[in-house]
């Protein structure tokens, strides 16, 4: 087994084990209803985490994700409610704006040789500030399309509901897995994370790949913002505060090495689900403060960073 698979296996086992424990305590948690809600409630985080996975795999970081989500909810709401555009057109515009924003950040990172941390931090302030300038107050979205979408779902056996936003997230993960593991672009992303110098010497188009990675991350954050607006039927500049940190946590818990080069999209999925599981457990328990989610995520993150250290140190001794 490749050693980079080990953290992924660990995450999967921990998820299954934790779910089992939760079910033993609250048998109600083992139902398609709960599973369906898992997907719906974490859809925006999941989609944003996919973009974050590509960024981290390439050895970078994207701190602008939460702000881009917030900005997109406001932009979509403004386009629909103020400009009377059809939501689908508003979505398309929002995605293009987000992707362009990401591409500019990627270009700054590559051409100006500024660390991604700084560039995306600036991006975070810009997007959050831009959203507040557009509208400091929450804009409610009333549109037929929105009510249709939020009412449509696939009924799962056992009464669970697979909503549109849940489906969108699953589709994003499926496409992202193909993109990461089966395309030249995916190989180039891993190559950048392994060693940028080697990658350049081996003919990887570093500039194009870097720009595409950040454009992809922001576009997915835009999509996450759309999903968020569908979920809440509103646009608000302070939406999704700090979501970039939850996304980073999901990526790392999912077994991706924070320094880049190793990891799997599928791991991120489990990382997101693990966070969802903790939240659901707290709801079922009823007595725990919801802040326990943060504590559990903190402990898990720490565990995984230690685990990766051990795995990669042990691995390097093989002849």
């Amino acid at each position: 087994m490749t050693r980079s698979l080990r953290p992924l296996m660990a995450t999967t086992l921990i998820f299954l084990f934790a779910y089992m424990l939760a079910v033993l305590q609250h048998p109600g948690m083992l139902s398609t209803r709960v599973l369906g809600n898992f997907l719906t409630d974490n859809a925006f985080l999941g989609i944003a985490s996919v973009g974050m996975t590509f960024v981290i795999l390439s050895g970078g970081i994207d701190l602008s994700v939460g702000a881009v989500i917030g900005f997109t909810t406001v932009l979509v709401a403004a386009l629909i409610m103020w400009m009377n555009l059809h939501p689908l057109l508003a979505f398309a515009i929002a995605m293009i704006v987000a992707a362009g924003f990401g591409a500019i950040m990627g270009a700054a990172i590559h051409y100006l040789k500024v660390p991604s941390f700084i560039v995306t931090l600036a991006g975070m302030f810009l997007a959050r500030g831009g959203a507040s300038v557009l509208s400091p107050d929450s804009i409610g979205i009333q549109h037929e399309f929105y009510s249709t979408i939020s009412k449509s779902y696939i009924l799962l056996p056992g009464g669970g509901r697979l909503t549109v936003v849940g489906l969108v997230m699953l589709a994003v993960f499926a496409l992202a897995i193909l993109l990461a593991h089966r395309t030249r672009f995916g190989s180039n992303v891993y190559a950048l994370g392994g060693s940028e110098t080697s990658a350049a010497l081996m003919g990887v188009p570093v500039a194009r790949t870097t720009i595409t990675i950040y454009a992809l991350s922001s576009a997915l954050a835009g999509l996450a913002g759309i999903v968020f607006s569908l979920y809440t039927s509103a646009g608000y500049s302070l939406n999704a505060l700090g979501v970039e940190l939850d996304a980073i946590a999901a990526v790392v818990i999912g077994g991706t090495l924070l320094t880049g080069g190793y990891g799997f999209i599928a791991g991120t999925f489990i990382g997101v689900m693990l966070q969802g599981l903790v939240q659901t457990y707290i709801v079922f328990d009823g007595t725990l403060s919801s802040w326990w989610t943060k504590i559990v995520v903190g402990v898990l993150l720490f565990m995984f960073i230690v685990l990766q250290r051990l795995v990669f140190r042990a691995g390097s001794r093989r002849p």
Partner: protein, 503 residues
Amino acid sequence: MTDTPVLEARGVVKIFGQHRALDTVDFAAMPGEVHALLGENGAGKSTLIKILTGAYQPDAGELLLDGQPITLRDPLHGQGYGIGTVYQEVNLLPNRSVAENLFLGRQPTRFGLVRRHEIEARARQLMAGYGLDIDVRAELSEFSVAVQQIVAIARAVELSGKVLVLDEPTASLDRTEVQRLFGVIRGLKAKGLAIIFITHFLDQVFDLADRVTILRNGKKVATQPLSALNTTDVVRMMLGKDVAFEHHPSSLSSGARGAVRVQFQNIGRKGMAPFDLAVHEGEVVGVAGLLGSGRTEVARLMFGVDASEGGTFEVDGMPVTIRNPAQAVAAGFGFCPEDRKLDGIFGDLSVRENIIIALQAKLGWFKALNRDDQIELAGRYAEALDIRAANHDMPVRLLSGGNQQKVILARWLAIDPTFLILDEPTRGIDVGAHAEIVRTINRLREEGLALFVISSEIDEVVAYSNRIVVMRDREMVAELTGDAIATDAIVQAIAGTPQEVRA
């Protein structure tokens, strides 16, 4: 061999600042030959290689491929012309599979998706051609450096296939791995590739190469078939025999030696044979040996940069512990390292700050030297060593190499040392300053300091050493004193004549 070289450099010149790294050098690689490129550090080997592969552009002269002039923008461009390079440190992706490393950038795809099975099958086939039966799906980093080198060679040959440049590929391989690699290289040579082989292991050159080109100080010394040469000839050509400096045995070895200042007993570590050495008051022990012979390693062990495995240190008869440089400084040692810019100077700090830094470190955090003391100290040593700087508050990086070296010397003299280690003190310094450094070393010796000086220039070592230690294969193999100190004797000792034949 045919008569047209595959890759030829004619009259190539490369200038960095005021330094001529390469001075009208001619070089030609024939198809089906292994052409070794030899030279000490700073001889211009890596500059020439970088020009041949496209990493640098020559300031004058031209490159010809199959007799046609070409201009290379970068290594990728060179690769397109058929010139592939494998570096000492494998420039592949440790985190990806062998197959992926072989095919990155040219994966066969269908509907945009990479055809993984095809890549793996082709990779297996390719590796089998090199006599390797390995799991091509495993990560590259799981394999030994030798296997990684072969993968790198396979990729380079696949992509370029005319000229293969091997830049010290054997530096981190053991003997059987070297043989395995040589087998691969001989196979490629039989296929008609031109192979340019850079190494500092002479036995490997004689084992593998057909011809050798020797560079010294940016100039070509010779290109000759190896069948006509022996080790001594090669060493002599590499180290040169200018008569710029004369040894004066009478002045150096006459009279009683001073007391022993520092004594090293059984100091060594993995990959470096233990050595014993005593350095006396007013004595310069010179070290001669080729690059990679272990000269720098000895200096690092002495100064505690690398901790010795066992052995004892004594200063003026008292045992001391030296496991890190701070302890070495406390024991009164000073070290001017080989790479001045990287390990020696603090380029952005002023001359004054660079001079007082070791003394300040020795005094500790709470006894800060006040500004007047600093100015006084800097002024005193700048005058003593004739450091030429417009003022002592200018950044050291703006000084010339010779003056930078003197600043580092001043730094150590300020702590009133018992023992100074100088690793290549004259590297990259122009001729005038060169003679001045040598004079400074002589003067410090006369003032009673114990010095240990490493240099690749034999004539220079001869000029200031009371005693010369010769190193070969990470071992001190000979010690010359008094009248025995002569350039020829040293060359013989370095070459290990009568010529040894080793695998």
